[in-house]
């Protein structure tokens, strides 16, 4: 490599935002790529450089910086957050009666999207063959009927006033404990996370009578992750030719900003913890698999 030292350092650690494209996008600091650098994995060095700064944390969202780690691993956390953190969700919908104008499958789909406040860590994955039991299933009920409001004024045309129960919200969903669930989850009341999700609209005489089963599953959209340090990504400077040559936009390769927005079932910090543990579990399972293969 004939490139001057500073340039090499830049290639290794910066992503360059050019006028027409991004340069140095890939991680290249692998052993043997750069003479004079020792790129062999070094746990100590990693531990020394690695840093997490929590910027913001509340019930539903958090933001933190993760510095000193490669994109590959940081991205793995992001992917797990998006796809593999277990949650409880409505899985089976038994519609006993649905006279509303919302079709059964549409209604079921809508119900399936409602986040349920229940700690998935306290439940097990449901075995498909078995009957629903207290350790893997939550039973919810939605039973509502719309009627005319007897106290509504005659000339009113406002449905709010004319009808009772004409808007079905997620707060109308009730928890039906199975087995010993009533005692176990007495203090952590199981219910939808949000009360104000509109499920359907009814008119007098229409009713819904539905039983839902929630089970543990993966594949939840909970997080969004941002990777950047520079805020001016509009690259406005590059439009002005006089400035173009003076400015070089770069991003630090190993600096990641995570913004995690939770659906409210679990606090975001728990989600991140879970995500890391999922990756660890993956490693562990392969390690144990290899050990068992070796033993054979």
């Amino acid at each position: 490599m004939a490139a001057p030292m500073s340039n090499v350092e830049e290639i290794r650690s910066r992503v360059i935002l050019g006028e027409f494209g991004v340069k140095n996008v890939h991680t290249t600091d692998f052993p043997g790529n750069y003479p004079g650098f020792d790129d062999t994995w070094d746990m100590k060095r990693f531990q020394k450089n690695f840093r997490i700064d929590v910027v913001h944390l509340d019930e539903n969202s958090m933001e933190f910086d993760m510095v000193g780690i490669d994109a590959a691993i940081a991205n793995a956390f992001r992917r797990i957050l998006l796809a593999e953190v277990p949650t409880m969700a409505i899985e089976k919908v038994f519609i006993y009666n649905n006279t509303s104008i919302v079709q059964d499958e549409v209604l079921a789909h809508r119900l399936g999207l409602i986040p349920i406040k229940a700690d998935p860590r306290l439940f097990e994955f449901k075995n498909t063959e078995e009957e629903a039991s207290e350790i893997d299933t939550i039973k919810l009920q939605l039973k509502i009927k719309c009627s005319r409001n007897p106290r509504a004024s005659k000339d009113s045309s406002d449905p709010q006033e004319l009808y009772l129960n004409h808007m079905v919200y997620s707060k109308d969903i009730e928890w039906v404990p199975i087995g010993n669930q009533a005692d176990v989850f007495a203090d952590s009341c199981i219910r939808p996370v949000h009360d104000d999700i509109l499920i359907a609209q009814l008119r007098p005489g229409q009713e819904l009578d539905i039983i839902m089963h929630c089970v543990k599953g993966i594949g939840k959209k909970v997080a969004k992750v941002v990777n950047s340090r520079l805020d001016t990504c509009s690259r406005e400077v590059l439009r002005h030719s006089d400035l173009k040559n003076c400015v070089k936009l770069g991003r630090v390769r190993d600096h990641f900003i995570f913004t995690v927005e939770s659906t409210g079932i679990l606090p975001p910090d728990v989600l991140v913890t879970e995500a890391i543990q999922v990756l660890m579990a993956k490693c562990q399972s392969f390690l144990s698999e290899m050990n068992s293969v070796d033993m054979e």
């Binding site: 994995w41 746990m43 929590v54 590959a72 691993i73 991205n75 994955f125 890391i276 290899m290």
Partner: protein, 115 residues
């Protein structure tokens, strides 16, 4: 879910070309995707004994990856894989510890001014 299924069919398979030595192995990892594949590849690439490391998702409708490792100097490919998994595990552990420490610090700091 993969833990349960692992009992039924192997989670990890080794595929080798005829006559190839132990240093060139394709590991078939079932029920995995870029999440593990990419991070593990990074860890193994960091190993100076590894000449080549890469993976592919065979087909969008299959949930498995082919993970290829070629080593230098006749070292069996299983070794870097094992090391990589271990290191990745350690990294995660460290990240987890740091994260939890920072979150706790942050929470304490938040509570203090409120009091």
């Amino acid at each position: 879910s993969m833990a349960e299924e692992g009992e039924k069919k192997p989670v990890l398979e080794m595929v080798q070309a005829d006559g190839a030595d132990d240093g060139c192995v394709t590991f078939v990892m079932h029920n995995e995707d870029h999440t593990l594949g990419n991070s593990l590849r990074y860890m193994i690439m960091k190993n100076p004994d590894v000449e080549f490391c890469g993976y592919t998702i065979t087909h969008p409708s299959e949930s498995k990856i082919n993970f290829r490792i070629q080593t230098r100097g006749g070292i069996p490919a299983v070794e870097p894989l094992q090391n990589g998994l271990n290191e990745l595990h350690e990294v995660c552990q460290h990240v987890l510890n740091t994260f939890q420490a920072r979150v706790n610090e942050f929470k304490e700091a938040q509570e203090k001014p409120m009091e």
